[in-house]
Symmetry: C3
Subunit: 456 residues, 3 copies
């Protein structure tokens, strides 16, 4: 098979066509939410609003900016750990996320904010668009180094669509609670990405292990991503929760869970190395599992110790996954998972979904108060908690099913031979899609495997 | 000409004199705004204030911190892309911005917040001081690698003064709207910097292209700057807008515009490379053009699709500028523009000014509501929209004129031979002004052009 | 002495035991603050609360996230400046801080928020836990490169305990004001760390200076830490101040002080180098001294010029400390201070304590207003300002005494030979505790002192 990786016409045309379509659709459909519309002033002076502070902006904007950092710096730099794939890691993530948020504003808008022919957007829509794109960033992690930017744009187009459909089924039809997106973002994103990677399996990749390993500095760049994800995760899980106590509680629970998963990730990383040494891969990834796993239940009355238990378990399971499950998936199931998203988002996402269902099952008015129970679980105060728990569990299975079926279809589309994908020997190498500084172009050639050679 | 680049007495004396002057002037003039003064408690208990939340602090502080990150991390790291000029890029930006914000507090204070002999400062002043310094950071981009820290301090002294005068003419005399500073910050800053660079033209710099190129890791450091600028730009454009809907709308418009310019920058970057490869320079810079170009109109009823169109166009024009205009400016007009600020801030700034004028021209009470129109365009509800549009356009021309005239004067001052500027062969090299780690001092010598040599 | 640095069982067991203990204690003691409890809804509907905005969350959450960035990214990356100790710098800081915040939630909770058998936590507790851990990060700076992760966990266990006791004495018993923690965090943390380092003195370390020096890129990584600390310090000093004017004022004062210390740090750095060159160590550290030194007085009516004077002085003193005091401490007092915390946190912390006492001594109702004075200095309106000043000074001495006595005890515990500490020749080398990329393992061997060899 002859690979044509010159994207000169295909990538520009793809980008421009998509963006023109977005402009047209925005022109037809998208307007401002009342909180962002200049008519707000008339409302205010008519006495319908007592203070500018009631504007949704002030409740959500700081969290929005934190989430925005996570999507672009967090996920972007987390994917710079490969020695010669940093431009692509951070750059392609930038590209797909910038496209994805626009497309998500439309799709989520049609499904959730469509009023009299218009989608009315405000700060909450911006957060939800970032969330949606978060699931694409997760899936990208499995494919890192093996796909072209055109493939990523096509995948984003479909994955955002599937995400929005799945989210609509869960949140609107089943009225499932999933504030931090353990199911809708992480479980869906991870199993979608793994399925696509399974379809795109490249049997000969393992012959060249070297470009898949990090160098010293690339691991430090990746830590920038890890830390911003870790720090801002309380904002992620609380950003779209109800005002007041729910938002407050979601931040506290996430803070606790993440702290616990750092300690157990370190413990397992050391215990599983024959000389007790720590592995940067675990520190960069498994420490975040607590944030994923507490996502669904973060706004519930999980209690701080409940959060610690969630973080404790997910740190352990995630590290075990990196050591034992990742090689198994590759060798036995033919699933190549570059960043190990199965261990950071897949399993912890499922834990998160189950935790949410269990926590909902134990919800009662003694714990939540009469009104608090109504507020926490929407309009379903008439349903008992066990019904909510069952719906939560159903939401988890639906997310998994959507991910698998969607992943197969999208994977087959991406397997078509004209998307400019790289041949095996050019995987994990920026030089195929980027103009790389001249004095470093030879760095990855097979005859120069040592980046910093010892003196003769 | 003999160059003396030993700054041992000149730099310390400059810094200390400036800081002593600032201390004296602050002592005479600067006090706290009522919202930051302990007498606030008396007001509150007298019933003049109903809640601490009415304190301006809570409306603006999160945006302020985001802007602060943009000035120091955003601009700072954006300028670390050169292979041996990272210390200076981030360090000199730190120095000039730290000086500039203090000087701007005074100048903007005298012009805008002078009450009974005192400048009363609050969080909005901090934001405006950061904005003012933003224009100096822009200008620094054109001069990067060619000026001494003393020259930068002198330039900051004058540019902050000129900025404040220009801003006063536009915002206070003409009552122009310019929330995100497309005109006052970007257009002014860019053309000021380019004019200074034109005066300081060094004809022999092109003989040594190598130090002006990046290395692999330096491009990743620069991406830290790019992404924090990109992420926090919605805060930049909304930070000083009116409370409520205007602030909310400015954030949404900027979010949309920036997303669009990522796609068109990528498209053009690939289309203009003979093998369709992406260029990090475009990804680092042109993706931000949407934020610059939407600055003036961000708080207006530009509509989300309007923002997309602005981002769409400016991403294209900015990338074209990097490919065609930058070499032309250097070879034909003798303007050396290290970071390409003409393409990131100059042209997009002008686009922003024009967009603002056009958007103002179409303002009417159907779009804004009766009160909204008054609120959006200040006290000039009596004037028709076309008058406002003309004033907006006038503001743009005044900014350009101030930049050109000011730039020539300041450029001539900076050309004086005693500011410790580096000779041509030491440009773009940290070692001239910094203690550089010993084992790397030889890195830039002409005989070692390859930083990471292949094995023999 | 035989060193066993294989942590395979010791580190995992330590981490897991600590985390299990935390889970049990959280289960017994920790619940949600009313503002984070679902019963909030019942309160609200009963009319006890008029708006969700009154939730403490909205007053403090943005500042909390900024502080969180400072602890994990700020301190973490500040400690990546060594050429081969970046993994440990950022990774061990991550580990100790994640453990420390959980332990601090308990200890500070018992001392400050214990109600009817439960610790009730909200966003303010999260900030205070981060603050407490900040003092451990400070102490870690003195020990960087010379201690094992187990030693760091043990130290955190004890230091958090001592911190909480000292904080309780100062804030609750003496009713000292210390918003930004000049005394409780910086002075205590620095002298505690220096005392521990004195006990753990390693006389032969100076024979291998090379691994203690930075390389070009590691200094840029450290600047990420510096800048995020610098930018977010206004949030640090204002995060737990009273709502409204105090929080507002603390941010302004810190902004001013930090800006001034950048100029004087640069001035002194250049003046103290024989060729007038700048030293990255000073830019990375002394520029922050203004934030430390204004900590105690930041929320007081220090006036903007007062803040400038504080920043001015502390930048000078801190840089002088790096040049003259650090070598003196090592050679004469046998105190090895890897990051120079004595100059960044120790002396500026003392300056901060004194500044606070002096500012309190001049407090009166003309400056603060009647109610403002009560608000600013708690319940002690009946006491005159000089009494408050004396208590402030007493607080400083108590912090120093606690640090010295505590540091000796903890230092002796850490000197026990079974914590997996590294031998002298493996200090400052990640390879002892981390799996380091293969092609770079040899980098620090004595025969390859040049990381990037010139071509033959």
């Amino acid at each position: 098979m002859v690979w044509n990786t010159n994207l000169r016409w295909r990538l520009p045309v793809t980008c421009l066509l998509l963006e023109v379509a977005l402009v047209v659709l925005f022109c037809i459909f998208v307007r401002y939410d009342p909180d962002a519309d200049a008519h707000w002033m008339d409302e205010k002076l008519a006495g319908n609003i007592s203070s500018d502070l009631e504007n949704e902006f002030y409740y959500r904007y700081p969290s929005f900016q934190d989430v925005h950092v996570m999507i672009f710096v967090g996920f972007g730099f987390l994917m710079t750990f490969l020695q010669r794939y940093g431009y692509s890691g951070v750059g392609f993530n930038f590209l797909l996320a910038a496209f994805g948020i626009q497309w998500a504003l439309l799709l989520q808008g049609w499904l959730h904010c469509y009023r009299e022919g218009y989608i009315l957007i405000g700060v909450e829509n911006l957060i939800n668009a970032d969330f949606c794109v978060g699931s694409v960033c997760v899936a990208f992690g499995a494919l890192l180094g093996k796909v072209s930017p055109i493939q990523l744009l096509i995948m984003t187009l479909f994955q955002v669509t599937l995400f929005s459909g799945n989210e609509f089924i869960l949140l609107s039809l089943l009225e499932v609670k999933d504030a931090g997106g353990s199911m809708t973002i992480h479980t869906f994103g991870a199993y979608f990405g793994l399925t696509v990677s399974w379809i795109l399996y490249r049997p000969n990749l393992h012959h060249s292990k070297q470009p898949q390993s990090p160098v010293y500095h690339s691991d430090l760049f990746a830590m920038i991503g890890t830390l911003f994800l870790w720090i801002y995760w309380p904002s992620f899980n609380s950003a779209v929760s109800s005002h007041g106590d729910a938002q407050h509680r979601a931040a506290i629970n996430t803070y606790c869970s993440l702290a616990a998963s750092v300690l157990t990730s370190v413990a397992l990383s050391s215990a599983l190395h024959k000389k007790g040494k720590l592995d940067m891969v675990h520190i960069q990834n498994a420490t975040l599992a607590g944030g994923v796993a507490v996502g669904t239940a973060a706004e519930m009355m999980l209690m701080p110790y409940g959060s610690l238990i969630v973080g404790f378990s997910s740190g352990i399971i995630s590290t075990l996954g990196f050591v034992y499950l990742k090689p198994f998936l590759e060798s036995q199931l033919r699933i190549q998972d570059t960043c190990g998203i199965h261990n950071l988002h897949g399993i912890p996402g499922i834990i998160g979904g189950i935790t949410g269902a269990v926590t909902a099952a134990f919800a009662n008015s003694a714990v939540y108060g009469e009104e608090g129970l109504i507020q926490a679980f929407g309009l379903r105060s008439k349903l008992d908690s066990s019904m909510q728990a069952k719906l939560q569990a159903a939401g988890l299975f639906i997310s998994l099913a959507m991910a698998l079926v969607g992943g197969i279809i999208v994977g087959l589309i991406l397997k078509l031979p004209f998307w400019g994908q790289a041949p095996d020997q050019s995987c994990f190498d920026d030089a195929i899609y980027w103009e790389v500084p001249e004095n470093e172009r030879t760095a990855l050639r097979p005859e120069h495997t040592t980046l910093r050679p010892p003196e003769p």
